[in-house]
Amino acid sequence: MTSMKATPEPQADRSNAERYLRMYRQMVRIRTFEEQANQLYLTARMPGLTHMYSGEEAVAVGICEALTDTDRITSTHRGHGHCVAKGAEFRSMFCELLGKAEGYCRGKGGSMHIADQSHGNLGANAIVGGSMGIATGSALRAKLFGQDDVTVCFFGDGATAQGLLYEVMNMAALWKLPVIYACENNGYSEYTKTAEIAAGSLTARAEAFGIEAFRVDGQDVLAVNELAERLVARARRGEGPFFIELETYRYHGHHVGDINRDYYRSKEEETLWKTERDPIIRMRAWLVEQGIAAEAEIEAMNAQIRKDAEDAVAYAEAAPYPDPSEVDMHVFTDVLHATRIGA
C-alpha cells in the first residue's frame, strides 16, 4: 500500500486555476445540494429519506475531475456527491428526489437510484456493494471492445464486508481491467464503527489479489485528484485495476433521520472533522492564499450556487408528477405497458 502522506500544501500551478476553481465549485455544489435536500426532508416535503454525502465532497470531486464523460462510475446509496461531481444538473436531481416526471429516472428511482447516462453515471445502488460487479463489468466491456474508458467503482468501508468485492477484484486483477475501486472510508458502516466490522487493513484486501492499493486523505481534494489523475491515466494504458482507500468523514448520520447518534459517535468527533478537516474550508483557504481567487469572488460563487439550488428546488416542487399511466412503463424495453399484456 502506498500512503499519500499529508504533504505541505502544494504551490498552485497558475495554468490550472480554472480546474482548481471548478473543483471548489463542485464541492460547494454538492454541499449546497445536500443542504437543500436535508431541508426538504426536515420540512416533510420529500418522500422517503436520503443519505447525505456532506463531508466527503473531496472524494467524489477529486476523482470525477480526473474522468471524462465517456468514463463510467457506479455510485452508492450515498450517491448525490458522485452524481453532481460527474456532471449532473440540480433540476433533474431535485425532480428525482421529489419523484417528479422530469427527474433523471422519471421519478422511478429516487435518491438511491439516480443514474445519469449522459455523463457516464451508471447509477446509485441501494444494495450495499451492489454495484461492484456492474463497475467491473463495464471495465470488462471496455477491454473486450478495445475502448479506452475507465470505470470508477465508489463504495464505502461497510461494503468491504460484501463477498462480491473479492470475487470481482479477483477477476479484475486476472484480466487487468480498467477499473478503480474507490473505497470511501468514512469510519462508519451505517451505525457501527468500521473497526468493529473490518478485520485487518482495507488496502491489504486488494493487495492480496496483486492490485496496487493506495491510501489518501479524502478531505484534501488536490491530493485525491493528483492520485486519481495518475491512476486513471495508468488504467487507460491497461495497467489497472487499482484500489484507493480514501479517509473521509460523513457529517450526517447514516441517513437524514439518524439524528440521535451519540451511541455510536460523539459530537466532539464530528465537530473536530467539521472544523479541522473540512475539504471546502481547506480548499477555500488555499485558493485565497495562493491568489487564485479573492474572498469576494468565492462569496459570489457560493451565493450563485445557493441561488441555483434554491431555484432548482422551487422548479422541482412545481414540476408535475409522472402520469399514473407510467407506473408499468419501463419494465421492459419493448413493451409500453407491462401489465397490459394479455389483460
Binding site: 429516472c105 422511478k108 437510484h113 451508471l122 447509477g123 467491473t136 470488462l140 470475487e167 412503463m329
Partner: protein, 331 residues
Amino acid sequence: MREITLSQAVNEALAEEMRRDPSVFILGEDVAEAGTPFKVLSGLVQEFGKDRVIDTPISEPGFMGLAVGAAMTGARPVVDIMFGDFLFLIMDQLCNQAAKTHYMSGGKLNVPLVVRTNLGATRRSAAQHSQSLQALVAHIPGLKVALPSSAYEAKGLLKTAIRDNNPVVIFEDKLMYQDKAPVPEEEYLIPFGQANVKREGRDITLIATSSMVQVAMKAAEALASSGISAEVIDPRTIVPLDEATLLASVKKTSRAIVIDEGHQSYGVTAEIASRLNEKAFYHLDAPVLRMGAMDVPVPFSPVLEDLTVPTPDRVAEAARRLCAGEMIHAA
C-alpha cells in the same frame, strides 16, 4: 429435415449470433476448452477465442455482476450458470440489479443479457443439482423467461433471447441435451410470447413446459387410445405468456391440466391455472389441475426421485378422472 441434438442446437444458436454481432460474448465456469460439463459449448472457443468465450473463476455472483455492467454499457453477454440450482447464488445481481435497472433508470439504461441455465430432475443428482427454478425468476418483473422443449425451440428461442434488449433467463432441460429433433438448416427465430399448439384436441388441454411437453405428448397418446382427445400446448415463454392461445384452447376443451417441473406450490402451474380460472371460469367443466414437482427437496435414491415428478401415466390418469367428472384435488 436434418435432426440435431438440443446441445448442438444451443451451440449453433450461439455461434450464429456471435458471428452476426461482435458484442455477444459468453461468460461462465468452464465454458471455453471444457465446453461446460455437458459439452454444450464445445468448439466455440476455437472459433471465437478466449476473449469471447471467457472462463471465469467459480464466482457466480461476481461474473453475473460483470455481465450486468457489460450489458449496461453496450455488450450482450450470455452468462452460463452451470446448474439451475446456482441461480440462488446470483439472485441479487439478477433480480435486484439486472431486472430493475431499466425501470429504476426511467428507461434510460438497458440490460441486454441472457442467463443460460438448466432444469430437470431424475438425473440422480440430488437436491442441489436437480431443481427447476423458473417460477423464482418469472416472479420478478423485468425478467423474461424462456423454456425450450426441444432442439428446435432451444435454437430459435436462444437466438431471440440474445437479440432481446432485456435480461432473459433461458432454462434448458439437462436431460434433453442429447435428444434430437428436426431443426432447419436456414436461420429462424422463435418470437417470445407465442405458444405452440403441439397437438390439437377437443376434450382437455394439457399445458406443459420444457421437459413436461414430452410427458404431456405421451399422456395425450395414451388418452387417445381410451377415446379422450387431448390438446397439448407449449407456452415456450412464461414471461411473456401467450394467454390468448391458452384461453382459446381451454374455452374450446373446457378442461385443463398445467404441467411444469418446478415445485407445485406457488409455482408456474399455479400462476397459469389461476389465470385460466379468472379468465375462462364460465367455460370450465372441471377444476384446472396443477401438476408440478412434489414439494420436497429432490431426493437422491432413484426409487424416491421418480415419485417427485409428473409422469405420462400420472398425467393421463388425472386427465381421465377430470374428463369423467370426478372432483379431484391437485395432489
